[in-house]
């Protein structure tokens, strides 16, 4: 949340901000669309778990990483589902929510009424962004928790083999899965900021959503081209698969930190772009 201190009425403004965030979240999570997005994400681990259960198990080295371990240990369903969801499904859902933040209000004509309430535009933007961040958290933990549950239902659950070849117990494994979810949430924060900016550019939410998803896809495509290697460390998606560092023993935190710095950079730049655009925007509808 924004922490601008306007000495006279800080307390009241703060409470307005929190109340505003509360109403934003309740609107977001009362929408049928939000639940549909989360349900679509939840379907990924369900599909993976059921498919592995019904088949005899894929041979080693085929399909996404860790898939072959699912039949021996259900906890891997969450990890495989996360790997599958990262390139497209998670950015897609986040793009829908972040792209809708401002443009959605503008298209339905409610933006005008929002701005009539005693809330500064910067604060409105911050609340909208915070709402999208909470959705990211909900999205990644949906994949992780549904994956863990499905894995526990259909497969044996036991100590997990880390990438380093050591074994960690179930509690530690659950902590690691939660850390992976946090890492993925962090990875999506930059994309959220891009979506917020796109959303201030247009009154057509679909345009902002599409542009946000395209941004993540383009970033991943560029990340695949060795000719553009110099640009790779700057890409939004550069550390997206780095969560595997949390599955090593000992845990390697470097990519977590590097990812945080990178995403913070995106938040600052695109947050400022969004603020500049939104604070001077003529709200006509």
């Amino acid at each position: 949340m924004s922490s601008k201190t306007l000495s006279s009425s800080t307390a009241s403004r703060k409470s307005v901000g929190w109340r505003f965030l509360g109403s934003e979240l309740s609107v977001l999570f009362r929408r049928r669309r939000t639940w549909a997005l989360l349900a679509a994400l939840a379907a990924i681990p369900v599909l993976i778990a059921v498919a592995v259960k019904l088949s005899s198990g894929p041979p080693r080295g085929r399909g996404p990483a860790f898939l072959d371990q699912v039949s021996q240990n259900g906890l891997f369903v969450a990890v495989v589902a996360t790997i599958v969801a990262i390139p497209l499904f998670l950015p897609l859902t986040v793009g829908v929510v972040a792209g809708d933040t401002v443009a959605g209000e503008a298209s339905t004509g409610t933006l005008r009424y929002l701005l009539m309430s005693p809330v500064a535009r910067g604060r409105l933007l911050a609340v909208k962004y915070a709402g999208a961040v909470v959705f990211c958290l909900a999205a990644t933990f949906t994949v992780g928790s549904v994956g863990t549950l499905m894995g526990a239902l259909l497969f044996p659950v036991g100590p997990v083999t880390t990438l380093s070849g050591t074994t960690i117990d179930v509690t530690e494994s659950l902590v690691r899965i939660a850390l992976v979810c946090l890492y993925v949430t962090l990875s999506l924060l930059g994309l959220c900021a891009v979506g917020l900016f796109m959303s201030t550019l247009t009154d057509v939410p679909v345009g902002a959503m599409a542009a946000t998803v395209v941004a993540s896809v383009v970033s991943q495509v560029v990340g695949q081209l060795p000719q553009l290697e110099w640009i790779h460390p700057w890409l939004l998606t550069h550390y997206w698969l780095g969560f595997a560092d949390l599955l090593r023993d000992p845990v390697v935190w470097d990519s977590f930190a590097a990812n945080a710095v990178l995403q913070a950079g995106y938040i600052v730049v695109f947050g400022a772009l969004a603020y500049g655009r939104f604070s001077t925007k003529d709200v006509l509808a």
Binding site: G61, A65, L163, S164, T166, A244, V269, A272, G276, S279
Partner: protein, 362 residues
């Protein structure tokens, strides 16, 4: 008109400031780390002595390795072939020691290195969604590959020390510093920072005209004498074709548990007799040397000759070779490999002409 002009200015100001601040931070951060390094002046001989007399028993750190040998990145080929998985694994093609070794040398890698005394070391290669470990704990030598869930185990005898060690900068540096003889000009470059430590740059320049190596730069920790980085530049180029350096280092003894390895349930464990086949060594790049080849020449001009039929060249590499007089040439910026028509394989950091001369001379 003026109003819209002013508005668009106002509109993008915050973004311009933010982008400027982020850009400046990104540019300044590496420079500030490099700022104001001034070690007491030392001659090349004194720095060499510093390395030789180093008394570093234990350390751990992160190593970044990049190479630009003019070869396609084999790991990238592998990844491009199969999205997330590596379907080529079924062919057994890329599990061959030679191609695993090539992959280690050609790609960019990040690894963690832990060393505790002469008998405990661990190299942890952090690949995306995979990991490879080479762990030495006393007499035990383990290699573990998470992608294959495969472990190799060897028990070392008393007098058998694995050569090459961890292939981290300090071991690579030892390899190059061995070559320091009258055929090498040794100078000291300007002080700089590597992994947060002030280092002397020891620059080895071969006097030979037949080698492909232009210079080798070894970054030596000014305090402890441990080599923290090695960069090899090809002749006529200032950009390193290969570099391996610590990005952070700690001189505290690593935890004992890091060297304990028990293969996980379900892993394929292969016992390897180190005398027998040296398979456990297959992560090391000098696979050719493990086959007891002959070495012709000395120092920078050395050429390794592998007798016919002893060395399998991975198919993907053979495809990259070009025909020359006397065989097929596999050329990189730092190493030339001649696959002679008679089946011998000649390799060295030398010109094609020298390889051909050696091939003809035998």
């Amino acid at each position: 008109m003026t109003r819209t002009g002013r508005k668009s200015w106002r509109q993008w100001t915050p973004a311009a400031i933010a982008a400027g601040a982020v850009g400046a931070a990104a540019l300044v951060a590496p420079f500030s780390a490099n700022a104001a390094v001034d070690l007491p002046d030392k001659t090349a001989a004194e720095v060499l002595a510093l390395v030789q007399e180093k008394d570093v028993a234990a350390f751990s750190g992160t190593v970044e390795q990049t190479s630009n040998l003019g070869l396609p990145d084999l790991s990238a080929l592998d990844a491009a072939g199969g999205g997330n998985g590596s379907p080529n694994d079924d062919d057994g093609g890329d599990t061959s020691p030679a191609s695993a070794a090539m992959e280690l040398v050609t790609g960019s890698h990040t690894a963690q290195v832990y060393v505790n005394g002469p008998d405990q070391s661990r190299l942890q290669v952090l690949d995306q969604l995979e990991e490879r470990n080479v762990i030495r704990n006393g007499d035990e030598l383990w290699y573990y590959n998470s992608d294959e869930n495969e472990a190799l185990h060897a028990t070392l005898g008393d007098h058998e020390k694995p050569d090459g060690g961890t292939q981290a900068p300090h071991d690579l540096a030892a390899h190059f510093l061995e070559k320091v003889d009258p055929s090498t000009e040794v100078t000291v470059g300007s002080d700089r920072m590597v992994a947060g430590r002030a280092v002397y740059d020891l620059i080895l320049t071969p006097r030979s005209a037949e080698t492909l190596v232009g210079s080798v730069t070894v970054a030596v920790d000014g305090e402890t004498g441990l080599p923290l980085g090695v960069a090899v530049a090809a002749a006529g180029s200032s950009d390193p074709a290969f570099s391996s350096a610590f990005t952070d280092i700690s001189y505290e003894a690593p935890d004992e548990s890091l060297f304990a390895f028990t293969p996980p349930d379900g892993a394929t464990v292969t016992e390897v007799d180190p005398k027998d086949h040296q398979r456990g060594e297959h992560t090391h790049k000098e696979t050719a040397e493990a086959e007891k080849p002959t070495v012709i020449g000395e120092g920078w001009d050395a050429v390794v000759v592998v007798p016919a039929g002893q060395q399998q060249i991975p198919e993907e590499l053979a495809q990259l070779s070009t025909p020359v007089d006397g065989g097929q040439l596999l050329s990189t910026t730092l190493v030339n490999v001649l696959l002679a028509d008679d089946g011998r394989v000649l390799a060295g950091s030398v010109t094609v002409e020298r390889l051909q001369a050696v091939a003809a001379g035998q």
